[in-house]
């Protein structure tokens, strides 16, 4: 009888410590998971930064046994265009070949994909995208003519820095050079008309 009281007391005394231990563990776990994209030094942005200066299209080396990020599709040619909107809005223009697969994805600084599309999004074979911050969009819209709709697609980037990834499918192994040429035909750079 006396013994039961003693074990009960011990459990009662230990319980808050165990609860505290688990709560601290949970908080540490959540904090470290959320912090990882900001702390990890070798993320996709770092990989792209090592390869390319901002505001130009740079081909990524072809995926082989040694080169390339894990799980890249070897049938794709890839190119990157880094952006830094603190220098002004980014203009992306491309003339696309009919029925040749082109993929476009917009990556924020810490890995988030905030927009993606394929060549099917082009109107009459042309793609015209303006990547802006919220403030830049206001400035651009203030300069829009009142009586016509904007001809370009305007996308707000969640972070001022990041990169666009272009991927072109080589349908046959011998077409890799053509796929790379399609990527290099993309114009990506600071918007010249911007008044920001």
């Amino acid at each position: 009888m006396k013994r039961d009281v003693w074990t009960g007391d011990l459990a009662f005394a230990t319980l808050p410590w165990i609860a505290g231990w688990l709560i601290i563990a949970g908080l540490v776990h959540m904090a470290s998971i959320f912090a990882m994209p900001r702390l990890a030094g070798k993320d996709a942005f770092a990989r792209m930064s090592a390869l390319a200066q901002p505001h130009q299209v740079v081909l990524l080396p072809a995926t082989t046994a040694q080169v390339g990020a894990p799980f890249d599709d070897p049938a794709l040619a890839q190119g990157v265009c880094r952006y830094d909107l603190s220098q002004g809005p980014l203009r992306l223009r491309a003339t696309l070949a009919p029925d040749a697969l082109m993929l476009f994805s917009f990556h924020a600084r810490h890995g988030q994909i905030f927009y993606s599309m394929t060549d099917r999004s082009a109107t009459r074979g042309k793609l015209d995208v303006l990547l802006v911050t919220r403030q830049q969009l206001d400035a651009v819209e203030a300069n829009d003519p009142e009586d016509e709709l904007p001809q370009d697609l305007r996308i707000i980037a969640p972070t001022p820095e990041g990169f666009l990834l272009f991927r072109a499918l080589a349908e046959f192994p011998g077409e890799m050079a053509e796929a790379e040429a399609r990527i290099q035909s993309i114009a990506c750079g600071l918007d010249r008309d911007a008044r920001s």
Binding site: S32, M36, D43
Partner: protein, 200 residues
């Protein structure tokens, strides 16, 4: 004094357990590749698994943490969907000691590719210099069906070579697919089957 020691001990133990859990979730995934560390938002269809949410704004924190470690760039959801198979249709792990036939159904997509790579997502050297097939280059039967033979030894038809000395996984990518809008509705019968044939 004893109280302070207990608090300190609890804090240290909490720190350890929390970081251990993070290590387990992310680093193990970074070592073993696509999907291992991804806990949420999986789609399973037969032997295939995909994580369609990783290519959207709604990517969960675990996926973001994992990709920050591996520098992977997953497909944006409008670009297409990726699926990985580590097992055959019967549920047995893929091994380069056996031959497999990947065939039958494929979800509607403008283009698709099937490639073989190591479980860590790295390509391995092959004598055929081939790591995958695109939907355009496949030899097809009269009814439009296809059969891809996965083997370490040369095979007639669509031969996807794997390396005898290395484990492998299969990646299926559907580009420009209507499935993107509704990835969670995909069923096993809509996906290619992976059937084991002879083993050595």
């Amino acid at each position: 004094m004893l109280h302070l020691l207990k608090i300190l001990l609890t804090a240290v133990a909490g720190l350890w357990l929390g970081l251990e859990a993070t290590y387990y979730a992310v680093e193990r995934g970074a070592d073993q590749g696509f999907g291992t560390g991804l806990i949420f938002g999986a789609v399973h269809a037969g032997p295939w698994s995909g994580w369609p949410k990783t290519g959207t704004r709604e990517a969960d924190p675990y996926a973001r943490a994992l990709f920050a470690r591996t520098s992977e760039t997953p497909l944006g959801v409008t670009e297409g969907l990726s699926f990985i198979a580590r097992e055959d249709s019967s549920g047995a792990a893929l091994t380069s000691a056996c031959d497999y036939v990947v065939a039958k159904a494929i979800p509607a997509a403008r283009f698709w590719t099937l490639s073989a790579m190591g479980p860590d997502g790295k390509l391995f050297p092959t004598t055929s210099q081939r790591h995958g097939f695109t939907s355009s280059e496949l030899l097809r039967s009269a009814d439009g069906g296809f059969e891809i033979r996965v083997s370490a030894l040369a095979r007639p038809g669509n031969w996807l070579e794997v390396n005898e000395s290395q484990p492998f996984v299969l990646m299926l990518r559907l580009y420009d697919t209507a499935l993107s809008a509704n990835a969670f509705a995909v069923t096993a019968s809509a996906m290619p089957s992976i059937v084991r044939e002879r083993c050595r």
